[in-house]
């Protein structure tokens, strides 16, 4: 039975991934910020799939709590084969521009907090010489745009960190998958119009687990974002600075 830790276990993508893992018989441990919400998600997974699910609630911004929380998860699962980082927040870009405190908080959640978890997980998997780390970054990290460069910069930092981590852990046989979703129909994007580009969390979850199985490095999901972002990255900065993106 695969033992999987999901960090940010109440996020929509996390719930979809958890449902698919539960169906394949994995044992799960969900780490999140809200106890009542974790209980709801765990009840759902147990009821619908008969899954084995443990939960732990901690304040994510308190990095000192990360280590003990992971220890507790590993103890509850009796080991660890896979860790999936799904937590994140999408603050309002304009508010973050006005008040750096908000921008800093975004960075603590999306970048530093993720790195804190990742460093702990890397150090656990490294001596084990096995394991898989999956982290949700974003297409927003591929190029800074005026409409959400605070979020984008935090995700860019995370993406670069994951590149390095993948490189570091490769000799030990520990796999690292960077996931770059486009628009996903989740609470984070509830204020956006549901266009053709909007993907369901279930679709994204399926892509993630497939990429994990074939040991992918960087997953764009849905697939067309790889090509959209390629074009966006290729636009020269002199032109890009004039665009309203």
């Amino acid at each position: 039975m695969k033992k999987v830790l999901i960090i940010g276990g109440t996020s929509a993508i996390a719930q979809a991934v958890a449902a698919q893992l539960a169906q394949s018989g994995a044992a799960l441990y969900l780490l999140g910020r809200s106890g009542p919400k974790l209980e709801v998600v765990a009840a759902d997974l147990k009821t619908r799939f008969g899954a084995q699910v443990g939960i732990g609630a901690i304040p994510f911004d308190d990095f000192a709590a990360h280590g003990p929380a992971i220890e507790q998860a590993v103890a509850a699962l009796g080991g660890l084969d896979m860790a999936i980082l799904c937590h994140g927040s999408l603050g309002d870009q304009k508010d973050c521009e006005r008040d750096f405190k908000l921008a800093e908080a975004e960075f603590r959640t999306n970048c530093l907090g993720a790195m804190s978890f990742l460093s702990l997980l890397a150090n656990r998997f490294e001596p084990q010489r096995a394991g898989q780390i999956i982290a949700i970054s974003s297409v927003a990290g591929d190029r800074g745009r005026q409409s959400n460069y605070i979020y984008g910069a935090a995700k860019a930092g995370l993406s670069a960190y994951l590149q390095g981590l993948r490189n570091r852990l490769y000799p030990q046989g520990v796999k690292v998958l960077t996931v770059k979703p486009g628009f996903v129909d989740t609470p984070m994007t509830a204020h956006l119009k549901k266009g053709l580009l909007m993907a369901s969390p279930q679709r994204v979850a399926r892509d993630i687990l497939r990429a994990a199985e074939r040991d992918g490095c960087v997953l764009y999901t849905p697939w067309f974002w790889r090509w959209i972002m390629l074009i966006i990255r290729l636009i020269p900065e002199k032109i890009f600075r004039r665009l309203k993106l």
């Binding site: 929509a12 009542p36 919400k37 709801v40 998600v41 009840a43 759902d44 009821t47 619908r48 609470p187 984070m188 509830a190 204020h191 956006l192 119009k193």
Partner: protein, 440 residues
Amino acid sequence: MKPSLQPVASWGRHLPTRSWLQPVYWSCDPLTAPVDGQTMLAYGMGRSYGDCCLNEDGTLLVTTGMNHVLAFDAEAGVIRCEAGATLDDILKCIVPRGWFLPVTPGTKYVTVGGAVANDVHGKNHHGAGTFGRHVRRFELLRSDGRRLLCSPQENPEWFAGTIGGIGLTGLITWVEFSLRKIGSAMIEMETVKFKNLDEFFQIAAESDQDFEHTVAWVDCLASGDALGRGLFMRGNHAASGRLTVHGPPKLGVPFDCPALALNTLSIKIFNALYHGRIRQRITRSVVHYEPFFYPLDGINHWNRIYGRRGFFQYQFVVPYSAEAGACREIFGRIARSGQASFLGVVKTLGNLESPGMMSFPRPGVTLALDFPNRGARTLELFDELDRVVLAAGGRFYPAKDARMSPECYRKSCPEWQAFRKFIDPAFSSRFWRRVTQGSQ
């Protein structure tokens, strides 16, 4: 997360409105205040045909993300889920373990919250009553932050007000209801051809005893001796067999059909073929529950076949009478009007009372008829039909209505006065404003 102003239409697609969409994801979250001090209303799958799920210029609490299953006792057959879970979600969970919905409407793409708020009924109404009869308890979240646990024992008046209360009493966060045990996912069904209304009533009377599920399709264009001809479908759950869950929809209507696609001639041909394809008087078959209960769920967006202008559904119940005068008159008027109705569904409703004070079903016979939207002509026909239904002491189904007058509503649903005290001051709907104030 901030709500956004977006266009919203209900299933009939002829009422384009705009509302602030505020998704709710967790039954444990507090309610947010509606935008601009306006009102709010829960919105699930939007399968109500008219405006009881709309709140023009107000806020809609979109509940489809609040869809967790919270508990399932597979021994006792009791399930508890968040109100945004759909019947589709529930079936996937319960069928493999030998249970079925206690009552189901003609589509599984409705939320459990919507099923309670509209107190839906199905083909087994004569033996099982409405969905509300099988609800054990639910939680009602009021805009003042109170959470009322409602059951026949606890807060019974709120239990009665909310079942069939068309979403006006607050937000239903979760629901616990009883299931029906099944030995197989299959239905042993019979299709009986009937030549006219008299035969329908005769077959219905014979069938209600021996068949758990009964419904009839009626050709609304046939007149004279053939007035009310159709096919009677009746079935029981097969005692043993496989417990296979239904699959996803196989077909879809990708765009609006041209307005001319459905005209009197094309519907006449369809109806004649549909009625004529059955040769014997009684045909027996064993079918999966999906085509039996949800024939239209196999086609995504089937409402688009009525074109850009959308369509109406007209559903009422009239008390049973031996001569069935009201039904006869209504069929006659529809046939004469030449306003084709593709699907006419007829069912006798039993006398099992719902706990809901505003619940639609009453003992008698109910007719549900689809009409393409042809503007004033269609509305005039409905006004005519309203008078016949009112004269016969009938009622109308809010989940289907988009146009009845305040007078018509007040006469047919006198409970509305007593119900008003249960309405949450921050909740309202386009339907409610229309039928109580004449405004929208």
